[in-house]
């Protein structure tokens, strides 16, 4: 009440400050002096100060001493409020925060934009109604089930949540689709990855700390942890009372356990040995005392929760998100991103069957088994080291157990993936009654569930298709193969031309060779072979061409400079050496090894204007680019479908349709509805997974 009063007063003050000059004459209030002419308010224009009011508080007897004291303190305190940061700094901070926010907001668009950039074709407007088959409900509006038979059938169908009209998806499947889109799944997967990494760090850290042998260190550490935990608990009481309550319950549980067990009751092997020693050894006595103290502490009923090693350690480790420890319940090995506890996000899935319980049990069993294994291992270690387990060591062991829990869980994840898959199939066979919807589901079309299955189908075909024959280039090789003795230039050209030629047997030899004709032929032949210079001419021609191709030596010698001049005088050697400039020889001619061929070395500049002269962006060398354009796109070389596919436009817009800017909800939620038809198999596998989770 007091506080409230105070607040009111201060508020009043503020009001007064805000409107200080307001005329208050018009207020009508009861006062001691009542004027005849106007209503008078005593003390108008004065501010009401806090101190004025406080004076009365002092006198009033009703107010509690505590508030009075507080008020007095308030009056006497000289502390001033801190100045607010100056404008620049506040703005800077605000800008920083705003930047982070906007980057977070904008970065969620990154994926979709990248996807759209990569897409071979974009069809605008983006979220078009699919042209595929629609449900009867969508097409026929206002149709009702009328006859009792129909009613019954539909009741049955709806009861079992079967796909009544839409042959593609059951409601459960649709729900599962809505539950998570690919984007979300990806994000989730990234989170999981991060968490796993974190976990490994923690593991490493725990291991490292565990290795430290100093007892004192551990003591200090534990104390610190306890303190920390207490602090956290206090905070939790304020902020999260429910959480605190749970903590309390946990503590209660641990207390109960402690009371039930004989752990700290000086009845163990170690304690007995210590008891014998206690007479003579001070430290042993002390240790026993300590243990008893521990027991006392643990069994004490407290308002303020006492410390507990287990919990403090757990608390320390709880900074790791707890879904890390959830075993992977993924049936499908294809979708590694579909991990984590999705069932919690899906409250609609009502049917929790016996199967899940079973799996949970199995989990527990396995944990137990592994725990036992761990214990045995430790025992063995202890034997080996021949050490007496002290109190501290026990604590250490507890810690280690916590760490090993991570490891075991991870091992579990892997093992359970496969097991649950097998469970799933078993469940399909075992189902009865409530589960029959699942059985029915499986009875429908055989679905290609995963991409892997598809690949398997492909693989059936491909080995037949990809039988590598070694035959292809025989013809070409034969064609290009040449007599081996022709490879060198030294071969005589005459030999090449006058090579043995096989005579061909003729069926009809010209029966009569006219005298005239014969003469003619002889003369022609004579003419042809008049000189053997056909060959020598050719060789000359070739050497001329070669010479023309060679770069000329530039002679810059000036006769008469620095020496005697005159007719018939040659420039000296040094001058020739110095002033005759030779250029680098050109690359070897194409016809270097072909004696009877002259190939022109001139570059054809005419094609160059049509050629690509600079390598386009993503390619690193010409070979890559050339191979990327090696397949022609014209209809002369391709089938119609291929041409259409190759030349399809990058952007397609529907005539007359308004292209709205992309909305965030569009691409995150309805991503699947767009892709539904394309990636049906993927979805079906998703669905099966969800059903597996639900049942």
């Amino acid at each position: 009440m007091q506080n409230e009063n105070l607040v009111q007063i201060s508020f009043f003050n503020q009001l007064m400050l805000v409107h200080p000059r307001k005329k208050q004459n018009e207020r009508s209030e009861a006062s001691v002096q009542v004027s005849e002419y106007f209503v008078n308010a005593e003390g108008t224009g004065d501010k009401v100060n806090l101190s004025d009011l406080l004076g009365t508080v002092e006198k009033t007897s009703g107010a509690s001493n505590k508030t009075k004291k507080q008020l007095r303190n308030l009056q006497s305190s000289k502390e001033t409020l801190e100045l607010p940061l100056n404008k620049q700094q506040t703005e800077k901070i605000q800008r920083g925060i705003a930047y982070e926010k906007t980057t977070a907001e904008v970065s969620c668009w990154k994926n979709i934009i990248l996807q759209n950039q990569k897409a071979e074709q974009m069809v605008f407007p983006l979220n078009q109604e699919s042209s595929g088959p629609k449900r009867v409900e969508q097409v026929v509006a206002g149709w009702k089930v009328q006859t009792p038979l129909e009613q019954e059938i539909f009741r049955l169908l709806h009861g079992s949540r079967q796909p009544v009209n839409d042959p593609v998806l059951t409601p459960v499947e649709e729900q599962s689709l809505k539950a998570m889109s690919l984007e979300e799944a990806k994000i989730r997967r990234a989170e999981l990855q991060k968490a796993r990494a974190l976990q490994s760090y923690y593991e490493a850290k725990a291991k490292r700390e565990k290795k430290i042998k100093s007892k004192k260190y551990h003591k200090v550490q534990n104390k610190a942890k306890r303190k920390d935990f207490l602090k956290q608990f206090d905070e939790m009481v304020k902020t999260n009372p429910e959480g605190a309550l749970e903590e309390l319950k946990k503590m209660e549980l641990s207390r109960m356990e402690e009371r039930m067990s004989l752990k700290h009751q000086n009845s163990g092997k170690w304690a007995k040995s210590k008891a014998i020693m206690a007479k003579y050894d001070d430290s042993a006595r002390k240790a026993m005392q300590e243990q008893l103290q521990m027991n006392k502490d643990l069994t004490q009923k407290m308002v303020v929760p006492s410390d507990d090693e287990h919990e403090s350690i757990e608390e320390g480790l709880e900074t790791v998100p707890d879904f890390v420890n959830d075993p992977e319940t993924v049936i499908d090995p294809v979708n590694p991103w579909m991990r984590g506890q999705l069932t919690h996000e899906e409250p609609e899935v009502s049917c929790v069957t016996a199967e899940e319980v079973q799996t949970a049990e199995e989990e527990n069993e396995e944990e137990e088994i592994i725990g036992e294994f761990e214990r045995k291992r430790k025992l063995r270690q202890a034997d080996e080291e021949d050490l007496i387990p002290t109190e501290e060591e026990q604590e250490e062991e507890d810690e280690e157990e916590d760490v090993s829990e991570f490891n075991t869980l991870f091992r579990l994840m892997r093992s359970e993936k496969t097991r649950e898959g097998s469970n799933q199939t078993r469940g399909g066979l075992n189902t009865a009654g409530e589960e029959d919807e699942e059985g029915l589901l499986s009875e429908g079309q055989i679905r290609v569930r995963s991409i892997e299955d598809l690949e398997v189908l492909d693989e059936v075909v491909e080995p037949r298709a990809i039988e590598e024959p070694s035959a292809p280039q025989t013809a070409a090789a034969e064609a290009t193969s040449e007599p081996p003795h022709k490879k060198k230039r030294e071969i005589n050209l005459k030999e090449v031309l006058t090579k043995e030629a096989k005579a061909v047997r003729l069926p009809f030899l010209p029966t009569v060779v006219d005298e005239e004709e014969r003469d003619e032929q002889i003369s022609i032949i004579k003419e042809a072979f008049a000189g053997d210079d056909v060959i020598s001419d050719f060789i000359k021609d070739k050497s001329r061409q070669e010479a023309a191709g060679r770069p000329a030596v530039v002679d810059l010698t000036l006769p008469g400079w620095g020496e005697w001049g005159g007719v018939g005088l040659k420039p000296p050697r040094w001058k020739r050496k110095r002033f005759r400039i030779k250029t680098a020889p050109p690359p070897p001619r194409q016809d270097q090894k072909l004696p009877d061929v002259i190939i022109s070395e001139k570059r054809t500049a005419s094609v160059a204007s049509h050629q690509v002269s600079q390598l386009p962006f993503p390619f690193q060398n010409t070979a890559q680019f050339e191979s990327s354009i090696r397949t022609p796109i014209g209809s002369t070389w391709n089938t119609q479908t291929v041409v259409k596919n190759m030349t399809k436009p990058k952007v397609v817009t529907k005539l007359g349709a308004i292209i709205e800017p992309m909305v965030k909800e569009d691409f995150i939620k309805s991503y699947y509805t767009l892709v539904t038809l394309k990636k049906y198999c993927y979805i079906s596998c998703l669905c099966s997974w969800y059903c597996g989770v639900a049942c």
Binding site: K118, I446, L457, D458, V460, V461, E462, A465, P469, A471, P472, E478, A479, S481, E482, L493, L497, K499, A501, K502, V504, L506, F508, L509, P510, I525, A528, D532, V534, F538, D596, I598, I599, S600, T604, A605, V607, A608, H610, Q611, S613, Q614, F617, P618, F619, Q620, T622, Q624, E626, S628, R630, T631, S635, W637, N638, T639, T641, V642, N645, M646
Partner: protein
């Protein structure tokens, strides 16, 4: 057969029974009733055939296992494509993604690879639509196919095929040159003494006939059967299919041989004056005129693969030409005597030449290497290669046809032979038909050569059965897809390669093409100033100021470089000196 029928009947009966059953609904109870029904059937089956029984049993077993009732596709997925067919449509090598490539590069390569693979697969799939295959003449044991006469063949084959063997006795105006249109429907014959006729040779329908009253050296169809070119005594003439003279191209004189490049719409002519000229028939312009300096050009062939013109010369060489280069692309010495005839095969791989030295040579013109040569007693005056690689050679009055010439092993004997009356002047295979047309002194002979023509035609390119309308449409499309003459070269795939010439080279070419240097610096032009400061003397002074600017720049640069080099040298020498220092040098002052 009769004994088996009853069982067959029963089996069919059983199947009918099965078919009658209603399709199973998911709400129905699972198949207890079914099994009771099936029992008697099974027994029936046992009584019947063994095979039948087993099948029924299998089915029942399946049912018992509770598996689905649907039939399984025994051949799931797409039909496999034979590797051979895939190989046929392979284009180039696949590109591998280099290690450590960028994401964008990976994507680009992946997309292009997927695309080309898809295209290849589809093409291989559609190869199914080319069902026709060529046949060959096969003789009995110890019977040479070359002894079978044309009359026998014509008698043996069906009437339509038999009618493809015929003779046209035109002894007056011979000898004849000839040309088939690209579709193979129309034949053009031109007699040396001026007789020109075009015929639809299958129906024997004479389209036009005339005498140009001049020597005719060669005749050639242009892109359609509506126009043809005739190389006459002086000039080149173009007529339409009715025989109306369309053009007299006086730029093309003394033409001896012609070739038409269908995809470039170019008519290449070789003249007696040694000129090789190209006429673009779509725009009617001369594209190039090259002086070969090789004398009279009366041997000519084209390479259908890359549209390069091959010319044979009296000095035994064969030269290859494109309209883009003033000198021959390749010149190869083929014969010791003059080259008499030339032929290039459809794929552009082989060239067959015959010379005055009475040799027949086969060359691989990708490597420019001879594969083999053979000696023909009479020498071949005319050569022609069919679409499927049959070689016909005219030796005097005899036409010989050789099989498997295009390969590494030489031929020994002809596949077919046919004797004619006069000297042979022209030889040509009819496209898409097993027919060889022979123009000779006594007229024209159409000869049946089994296995000569390509059995499958591309109806979008050359359709022998096309209608008038289709021809018009094709013409428009072909004109739109016309290949520019600049793209003619030895390598037709040049266009798909990156031009790797250096900047200087390109710049040089640019200067050559433009006639000036586009990147040259402008000459300094002093501004006009007022108040007498733009007098001639002042301008000269100002000019002199900048006259050696460029030179100065160069000198400055070279000097700078030199100083830098010297500095470096100094430093190096200093280092050397330091290296020679003794340890006690540090105490020295």
């Amino acid at each position: 057969m009769a004994a088996v029928t009853p069982e067959v009947l029963t089996s069919t009966h059983v199947e009918k029974m099965k078919k009658k059953k209603l399709p199973k609904r998911y709400w129905e109870e699972t198949e207890k009733t079914d099994q009771s029904q099936r029992r008697p059937e099974e027994e029936q089956g046992k009584a019947g055939q063994n095979q039948n029984k087993s099948t029924v049993k299998e089915k029942s077993l399946k049912r018992k296992n509770g598996e689905s009732l649907e039939k399984k596709d025994p051949f799931p997925g797409e039909a496999p494509i034979p590797q051979k067919q895939l190989q046929k449509f392979q284009r180039g090598k696949k590109c591998k993604v280099p290690a450590g490539a960028r994401e964008r590069l990976k994507e680009a390569i992946a997309i292009s690879e997927a695309m080309s693979e898809h295209a290849q697969k589809q093409a291989a799939r559609y190869d199914l639509l080319l069902p026709e295959d060529a046949g060959f003449l096969e003789g009995d044991e110890d019977e040479d196919t070359n002894t079978i006469s044309q009359a026998d063949i014509a008698d043996a084959v069906d009437i339509t095929s038999g009618s493809k063997y015929f003779n046209l006795h035109l002894s007056q105006f011979g000898p004849y040159r000839l040309d088939y249109s690209r579709t193979g429907r129309n034949l053009l014959v031109g007699g040396k003494k001026g007789h020109v006729a075009c015929i639809d040779w299958q129906t024997k329908d004479l389209k036009c006939e005339m005498n140009v009253m001049e020597t005719v050296n060669d005749v050639k169809w242009l892109h359609t059967e509506a126009m043809f070119a005739v190389a006459q005594k002086r000039w080149l003439y173009i007529y339409d299919s009715k025989g109306v003279e369309l053009h007299c191209v006086k730029k093309f004189n003394d033409v001896l041989r012609m070739q038409f490049l269908p995809y470039h719409f170019l008519l290449a002519t070789a003249s007696a004056t040694g000129f090789l000229q190209y006429l673009d028939v779509s725009i009617g312009k001369e594209v190039a005129a090259i002086c070969t300096k090789m004398g009279r050009l009366d041997v000519m062939a084209q390479n259908p693969h890359n549209a390069v013109i091959h010319l044979g010369h009296p000095n035994g060489t064969v030269s290859l030409w494109s309209p883009n280069q003033k000198e021959s692309l390749v010149k190869m010495l083929c014969h010791r005597g003059a080259v008499r005839s030339l032929a290039v095969d459809k794929t552009g791989t082989y060239m067959v030449t015959s010379g005055l030295d009475r040799k027949l040579k086969v060359y691989d013109i990708r490597a420019f290497k001879p594969l083999h040569s053979c000696f023909l007693p009479a020498g071949a005056s005319c050569l022609s290669l069919s679409q499927r690689g049959l070689l016909s050679a005219a030796t005097g009055e005899i036409v010989q046809v050789y099989q498997n010439v295009l390969g590494s092993n030489p031929v020994s004997k002809p596949y077919m032979a046919h004797r004619l009356r006069g000297q042979i002047w022209g030889l040509a295979y009819c496209p898409f038909e097993d027919v060889l047309g022979i123009g000779h002194g006594e007229g024209f002979t159409s000869m049946i050569v089994p296995g000569a023509g390509e059995p499958n035609f591309d109806a979008l390119d050359t359709n022998p059965y096309r209608s008038h309308k289709q021809r018009q449409e094709w013409e428009v499309k072909a004109l739109l897809e016309k290949v520019q003459p600049e793209l003619i070269g030895l390598d037709p795939g040049q266009l798909s390669k990156v031009d790797q010439a250096s900047f200087e080279q390109r710049h040089k070419e640019q200067i050559e093409a433009l006639g000036f240097d586009p990147l040259a610096k402008d000459k300094f032009k002093p501004k006009t100033k007022k108040k007498g400061r733009s007098s001639a003397g002042a301008i000269e002074k100002r000019k002199r100021k900048v006259a050696h600017e460029d030179q100065r720049d160069e000198i400055r640069q070279s000097v700078q470089e030199r100083t830098e080099r010297e500095k470096e040298l100094k430093e190096k020498s200093n280092e050397k000196k330091l290296g020679n220092k003794s340890t006690l040098d540090r105490f020295r002052k």
